[in-house]
């Protein structure tokens, strides 16, 4: 177990290392670092001075070390547009994105698992066929267009929910959260549902496939022979056994959800870090772009690590198999 843990943590660190290298190469080799780091309005003297100050006259490997060193100090450079540290700007927008992503995740569980159970337990009902057919749409529809249609239907035509922004927030522990106010919650519903659509389809299909497979297993026959109630069989014995793949997939897709929040945030003008990224790309505000990429990679790697650990805790076979 301990050696597995060390190996797994080492692997995570390796991915972070590769990503810093990729981001560094992308920013410094493909684009001209001087153009990226220095405002185009600077004079020649200012340029030379900044080049020296930023260390662009040093060999590449020393520049990379300096880049990593700065990363460890949380220093990615100041935004050209806002004049604030890029990391600071991203960190400010992080709670909004996390709120959105976690809400989407909750929705995918709350909607996906019950619907998946229904479709898996009664595969021949018309309703189940509709659910499974609808999930194909959830997979293949472009998220951004569905978001637009949601705005059109629920905000413009019906006027039920607000279309853009994050609404009112409440401050808890120095961070602003929107889900604590009624107005904020209303603003959260459409974007969260939009972001969750893909996840819902995935969880739904996994659950229904898992249920159909599990129902034929011997231990279910045994449980029925023992005279357990149908409800207990489904909610305890079946659900427990399909939870592992579902939890794994939900966890592993969390990083993807945060990345795809870029699209949803743009559609709903939701002030998260994804919207900031798109704005920064359009304004060529590279320090903010680098900050976004590094934070997302960090979240991504951490989540994957946690998922792997949970996996071990949920499935004794993995735990025991490693000990042998």
């Amino acid at each position: 177990m301990a050696s597995w843990l060390i190996r797994r943590v080492f692997q995570a660190l390796l991915v972070v290392f590769v990503m810093t290298l990729l981001v560094f190469v992308a920013v410094n080799l493909i684009g001209n670092p001087v153009d990226i780091m220095i405002s185009p309005n600077a004079t020649q003297a200012q340029r030379l001075e900044t080049i020296r100050a930023l260390g662009f006259d040093l060999p590449l490997w020393r520049q990379y070390l300096a880049f990593v060193d700065n990363l460890f100090h949380g220093d990615i450079g100041d935004s050209f547009v806002f004049g604030q540290p890029g990391l600071h700007l991203i960190a400010q927008r992080l709670p909004a994105t996390l709120e959105l992503a976690v809400s989407a995740l909750l929705l995918s569980v709350l909607i996906g698992i019950p619907l998946g159970l229904l479709a898996g337990l009664y595969p021949n009902r018309a309703l189940s066929q509709m659910i499974l057919g609808g999930s194909i749409l959830g997979f293949s529809l472009p998220t951004f267009w569905v978001g637009l249609m949601m705005i059109l239907v629920f905000s413009v035509e019906l006027g039920w929910l607000p279309a853009i922004g994050r609404g009112q927030t409440a401050t808890v522990l120095g961070t602003e959260w929107a889900f604590l106010t009624w107005d904020g919650l209303q603003h959260l519903i459409l974007p969260a549902l939009n972001l969750a659509l893909y996840q819902i389809s995935m969880v739904l299909r996994l659950t229904s496939a898992g249920v159909r497979e599990t129902l034929h297993k011997d231990f279910i026959k045994f449980a029925r022979a023992k005279g357990l109630t149908w409800r207990r069989i489904v909610w305890v014995h079946v659900l427990k056994n399909i939870l592992i793949p579902v939890v794994t997939v939900i966890g592993l897709s969390f990083g993807g959800t945060i990345a795809f929040a870029v699209v949803t945030e743009t559609v709903f003008s939701y002030p998260g870090m994804g919207k900031l990224l798109i704005d920064s790309i359009n304004l060529l505000d590279r320090p903010v772009i680098v900050a976004y990429l590094m934070i997302v990679v960090l979240i991504f790697v951490t989540v994957n690590l946690v998922v792997d650990l949970t996996y071990v805790l949920l499935d004794p076979r993995v735990r025991l198999g490693d000990r042998e």
Binding site: P142, F144, L152, F260
Partner: protein, 309 residues
Amino acid sequence: MTAETTSSAAPSDALVAVPPPLNLVRKFSADFARSRVAVAALAVFILLILAAIFAPWITPQDPYDLMQLDIMDGRLAPGSTGYGGKLFVLGTDDQGRDLLSGIIYGLRTSLLVGIGSALIAALIGTTLGLAAGYAEGRVESLVMRLVDLQLSIPTILTALMILAVMGKGVANVVLALVIVDWAIYARTTRATALAEREQEYIEAARSLALPWWRIMFRHLLPNCLPPLIVIAMIQIANAIALEATLSFLGLGVPITEPSLGLLIANGYKYILSGTYWISTFPGLVLLVLIISINLVGDHVRDILNPRNQ
């Protein structure tokens, strides 16, 4: 999984790489025709491709010829008649452009970028996967590490990263889509090639001392194709959807060659004022395109799956 298919598709004396016999094609067509949904989807897909190819001849106006546009026709509702007496079946956009013509031209860009990038990715991914499956050792582990790395990062993040650094443009979008997609082909090809490598016909080809590239491309590749065809179809749909998303974000194709995604983005500004058609109709076409490709791909997968035979 393809072990069974090859025993019928490739006779053991396949020293000369023979094209699949005609009755195989006929059998495939018969199998395909059995699903009415798939046939309808294929018809829709072909219709959309034909519309894109013949766009200049079938559209009511050339949407990018400024002489034919009249700003007075801006944002007309579907079915209304314009200033010059022209009928706009699907309405007009903010510059008075006929939306139907815009969509058909947009379809061109979407299909070109989607199919083009999927084919390039297939070429690169298949070659690397084939090499990884055929040659063991360092090549294999290097390719598979790269595949793992690529598949572990969300597609949209990779694409955003590339476009953030390289800037927008058709070529850069294609590059981003290829980098996102190649790994799936590589993984599939390697998995199939690993199984095929142990077959007798490869052993026979080897004992004839044929050069490695000839074995790889003339003998191994044709037998790895069935799963790749399915993957390629699904990936074309995915590439089209991703391109639309990137263009919607303003990072994709330039305004001079708008795709369906960019048309949808153009309508975004007006959606809150109830001008629904500029975003809705290109989106519907995008939807029909993606779903028809997926339906065809799903059915082809069912046919080629040896478990269903």
